[in-house]
Symmetry: C2
Subunit: 376 residues, 2 copies
Amino acid sequence: MNSDLCRKLGIEFPLFAFSHCRDVVAAVSRAGGMGVFGAVLYTPEQLRTELEWIDANCGGKPYGVDLIVPTSIQRQGGSGPSDDQLLAGLPAEHLAFAEQVLERAGVGADDLEERRCALLHISRNLDSAGAEAMLDVAFSFPIRLIANALGTPPQIMLDRARAAGVPVAALVGSKQHAQRQVAAGVDILVAAGGEAGGHCGEVSTMVLVPEVVSVAGDTPVLAAGGIVTGRQMAAAMAMGAAGAWCGSVWLTTAEGEPSQVVKDKMLAASSSDTVRSRSRTGKTSRQLKSAWTDAWEADGPAPLPMPLQSLVAEPALARIEALAQRGHAGAADLATYWVGQGVGLMTQTTSAAEVVQDFKRDYLAATERLMATLED
Amino acid sequence: MNSDLCRKLGIEFPLFAFSHCRDVVAAVSRAGGMGVFGAVLYTPEQLRTELEWIDANCGGKPYGVDLIVPTSIQRQGGSGPSDDQLLAGLPAEHLAFAEQVLERAGVGADDLEERRCALLHISRNLDSAGAEAMLDVAFSFPIRLIANALGTPPQIMLDRARAAGVPVAALVGSKQHAQRQVAAGVDILVAAGGEAGGHCGEVSTMVLVPEVVSVAGDTPVLAAGGIVTGRQMAAAMAMGAAGAWCGSVWLTTAEGEPSQVVKDKMLAASSSDTVRSRSRTGKTSRQLKSAWTDAWEADGPAPLPMPLQSLVAEPALARIEALAQRGHAGAADLATYWVGQGVGLMTQTTSAAEVVQDFKRDYLAATERLMATLED
């Protein structure tokens, strides 16, 4: 494609695959897009293992890493609360509510403590020492993009990226966020509309993309939120976006990380079957509606701040996922995952590489459809 | 433009202006789009007066009418509740809450009863006899489009439109709505995303448009929701829409019907300054956030079904608008109007005709931007 951003990043087609699944990341990069590995749920050691695999399997094509590095990393300094402090800070009400939801569905809750301890590194990734350890690993690989998923990247992240010659991307949910990020020196803005899976704001992609483009100046803008087809990518680029940043569409590919139970729920879901909720991370994120999200929306306690809510929700959801995979009906009802409204357009499973090819064909057809309107 | 829909309707550019303001309707039709007069708040006599003016001022160009004709019109038969029955059915709690909001802002509430009686025709437009009277007036003019704003058009509306050779459009907020409307024989679908002003669902324009197109077959789809620029119209058409249906963008034109107070609030508003609320009509509709919507969202009583909630809200909002126009600060804080998230992109006042020309220029530039990505 004739695109400054493609030339800058050394890619063929400006389709960015945000994924927690290394297979998707490598497959999309090999197919001409750019895979971006979402690392927030991993330990530094796990991240190293995954990036070694990606580096060995991406055919020498560019790939990136996505982290949540707190804006306050330098002010805060040192480590955050200890594991014991974190566990002691979890209110009994929240832990009891999560257990009750599992018990009512016959899922049981006997290994939640063990699962919670195994996930304490999530909170460490959000403090200064932990985030620096993740940056150390990321920059020990020849990554071509580093993204910050929440808030303005701290100076240390920008400095390290500059030193490594790696562009920094950051997600924004409003024009005001975009202005702050441009002022901070971010190289690529990802404008994430309210229909996006995962953390999202309220302004829709159709409105947010031209708004962010209007204040971005020379900074390229990727469109995110609801985009699962090439025609939607073309739509975003007609509005001035330089490419598309997609997370949901990879979930139902053959490689995608969710269990088959969750994939089947997504393939059957309509675009109305997602919910924006603070019950998973403490911040508003969009996910598939399920008995779990219904329970929290109906009468769950007020969500805790990050990372505490994750330490309530993730162990329970990990248990649900494990049991759902083994055919437990109650667990299948509870099972959920982050996904955007585009889930209504995700109706069959192909490979991640085939998704990229479908995007290219559909993008071309959409562009030709628009060109035809100008013919005499 | 090379467009089957343009040829069918006799227009130059498939930009549809939904407006309660006759000046906007005539100006957009004259400029090459199609003005569609939103008649639900008018009496049949008022509708006749407005359409006579439009017909005399549209330069012989096509225009249309938008009504809310209940799906159940034939089942229901005859007239709805009498005026006395309607007024008796308004709960004291709701009337008192509206009055309190006005009193707290120093706006006063002494003429609300009078204003309420003057608005009783809104409910009559929603019963069978009233809706037929509106259809009688509409079809006594050479309209080129008739639209139903909520739900599937009743058979009588479709039959009368067929007899008059007038295409019927209907608004849809989900793929399922679209399937029902196509089955009912609607000629044009208006896919209205959740970012739209007025009545709207939850699915965003970016997702809803390709979803509706996928089930519309040969039925043309207009995109609505958040669209206030030509680049967004091009985006929608890249996704398969046949045109754009816009309501918000006309509100801040020189001709637009809101008071200058409301126009100024809209010009200053960001895309985050709207709210979806049931407090105006009883169904979910998007409007500018104000002290009025804040009060209802914070601790208003549960909204009443249509048309009762309108009979609580509209008299209060009419009084607010009147006092705001006279410079009353409390009334200005309360003043609101239906508008979509696109309000964040509406930053200056021009004429409605200039908006159409801006759309054309921006549409062309967006199409050329997309074409350029395919160049070698």
